[in-house]
Symmetry: C2
Subunit: 414 residues, 2 copies
């Protein structure tokens, strides 16, 4: 263990919200509040922008019970940003400003919670502080529903989104088969470049009933194959439920969602609206049957009422681990998960630390060997991977049968 480093810490949230990013915040903030080396705990308002704008919330001022409600509060309670920080060799304005703020508040610990881009930001700040010789321990906490971060078995936020998707697909499937008339229903799921979320719809089929066909962005989408798949299932059962990733693309790399001209309204007009609606129209024009497009939209990433208790617990642990490691002198790392199974075959989630520079800007996709031969579903390996992650129902704090979220005071540092 290295010598004790006395000073304040900043915790920031970045990128798209998830159902459990606040659980990581709670894990880190609670650990920091409990650490005697850490003199003050700040939450950055809207991630790194809060540092640049000198907008820091004093977490020491919050009521501990209210803070604890962060465990079940979706979205980014401190506020988030999608701020692309410059290359410091090209423009170091932001870095000088960050250093100025760090010095102003004697910040010696910096924790950043986010996905690929956020880890890149975290990495650049860490390297800059090293370069200018300002002692500050910098660790990243992973987060993304997309599950595409390198070096970690999975990412906090993914499992709760997967559980929301699987449950919703089960429910929609029940609804979509209720009449004795033919029907094709298409569900659009998030995940621009990786198919972890769309693939999770297969859990519904595995454990009850769900999509008949699933298309991931890991393989090229072929409209004729898709239409043939849909027609085959329709001819067999009269009902088809399809799950598609928003990121499906043709062989030339163009997104299906952007290829408006392939789904004109019959008058040559381009169609607006989402991918599900567009594909539903294509099917209707092709087969003349009833169709419906459903976009799961924002709820898949903020539907905390369907969160996985495993995900919440792991997200909290990851936040706490980033702080614990920093207190032990470890810096410049991201917390990552390592999966193993105990002697009874039960899933065990271990944690390790990997260099921030290894993580930044690399995307982890669904292995091609986990996708079926006909490119319209996933194999058992995929189910086995996701299933342990979605286990457990959290106790949701409620008020009049509606969720009771954290109400922070958000006292600004002066």
């Amino acid at each position: 263990m290295s010598e004790k480093l006395i000073g304040a810490c900043i915790f920031g949230q970045s990128g798209g919200p998830t159902s459990v990013i606040n659980a990581s915040a709670y894990g880190a903030i609670r650990a920091a509040l409990d650490a005697e080396e850490i003199t003050k705990v700040y939450g950055a308002a809207h991630g790194i922008k809060g540092v640049l704008d000198d907008k820091l919330y004093v977490m020491d001022e919050e009521d501990p019970e209210e803070l604890r409600l962060l465990l079940n509060t979706p979205s980014s309670e401190l506020g988030s940003c999608r701020y692309k920080i410059a290359d410091p060799d090209v423009d170091d304005t932001d870095y000088k400003r960050i250093l100025e703020i760090f010095k102003k508040y004697n910040v010696r610990y910096f924790f950043y919670n986010g996905g690929n881009d956020s880890m890149d930001t975290c990495n650049k700040i860490s390297k800059y502080m090293q370069k200018v010789g300002y002692e500050c321990r910098v660790n990243g906490v992973p987060k993304t529903i997309d599950n595409d971060l390198f070096g970690t078995d999975h990412c906090p936020g993914f499992a709760s989104a997967a559980k929301y998707i699987a449950t919703s697909c089960m429910e929609i499937n029940k609804d979509a088969r209720v009449y004795d008339t033919g029907m094709v229903t298409i569900i659009e799921i998030m995940g621009r470049h990786a198919g972890w979320l769309a693939g999770s719809a297969a859990l519904a089929t595995e454990f009850g009933s769900g999509p008949d066909l699933i298309y991931l962005p890991e393989t090229d989408f072929v409209m004729d194959d898709f239409l043939a798949d849909v027609k085959r299932v329709y001819d067999e059962t009269g009902k088809v439920l399809v799950a598609v990733s928003e990121g499906i693309h043709y062989a030339d790399g163009s997104f299906v969602s952007e290829a408006k001209t392939s789904a004109t309204d019959g008058f040559g007009h381009a169609q607006l609206g989402g991918l599900a609606t567009m594909l539903a129209e294509v099917v209707k024009n092709h087969m003349g049957c009833k169709v419906r497009g459903v976009e799961l939209s924002l709820l898949q990433r903020c539907g905390a009422h369907l969160a996985s208790a495993t995900d919440i617990q792991e997200a909290q642990a990851a936040g706490a681990q980033a702080v614990k490691a920093a207190l032990e002198g470890i810096t410049d790392k991201m917390v990552a998960f390592e999966r193993s199974y105990d002697e009874n075959g039960n899933y065990v989630c271990g944690m390790k630390l990997i260099p921030l520079s290894d993580v930044a800007n690399y995307e982890k996709k669904v292995p091609l060997e986990w996708i079926n031969e006909t490119k319209n579903g996933v194999k058992k390996e995929f189910i086995d991977y996701v299933l342990p992650l979605i286990q457990g129902e959290p106790e949701i704090p409620r008020e009049c049968s509606l969720p009771r979220y954290a109400r922070l005071k958000k006292v600004l540092a002066k």
Copy 2:
């Protein structure tokens, strides 16, 4: 009590599915299975179409534990239909066929679960059987997420949809406010002619945070007023969350969702896609800000994981009551709810029976005095009305942390 009537019963589900229509089915089927006068219990496949097609499932063949899972299984497990039965004075073909099937299976009890149109069907069948002198007790069980049935304080299915909507609006609201950039988010909610569901979004605002503005179909929609409302809130806070009923309409009665020309894409092309997307585009063109449209779609009526325990219990009780009343000799009625409050001010739901002919084809709307003066929200009376109905979380049977729905054998009667 009238003399005992010995014979079989048929239970049928009709109209759009809800999260709790199967709870009514369970209530009725269980009561019928337990009644010694009832010799056989049939479930009609796809409502009255199952009777016409001689497709009846033998409920006596089902495993009691599996049947019990209907309490938490969304959508219409027996299958539903939207079959408009003819006026018997004009064309009595269907009625003759129904009588034939009733005679074939010695059906002396007929229970039909649905909304306005279904009660009309139920009423016509009841009157026909009386006219031809075939003794059969016919009672209706109310059901509709739209909550627009006449003569009952509220309808089974409404409260669970309202709870889904309120919870989802809370979650979306968290998500929609996460960045420090301006944003207008528009949520589209079901309810073509009555605003009970859209109004329920106000529960989110009342118990945390939710929509700033809510538009119901009970009043005429004025686009200029809407845009002024949105701009006012946006100028104050930079974030606007709007809930709209799918049924909002202009003063001339035309649906806003169908007035495509008012939201062209700038090239004079009509826009397809839903109302939320369309209104979001109008706001974007008007204010130049970031917008997002979210359609709650099917999930609001089949999201059983967020059902109200009160709703499930009442739906089950309504089904059982229809059977109980029939066994007592009562026929030609619909079960209705009557609200009262006990000495401690707690909500009590009583049941009564009202003539089927009173219910059919009349729509109950949100009282205008429960809508605010500026026509962009609801008053406390509305909240007080809905709140008791959404109380309680059901114990959801699960398998591997995913819902475990009823898997019926559906043995066809020969």
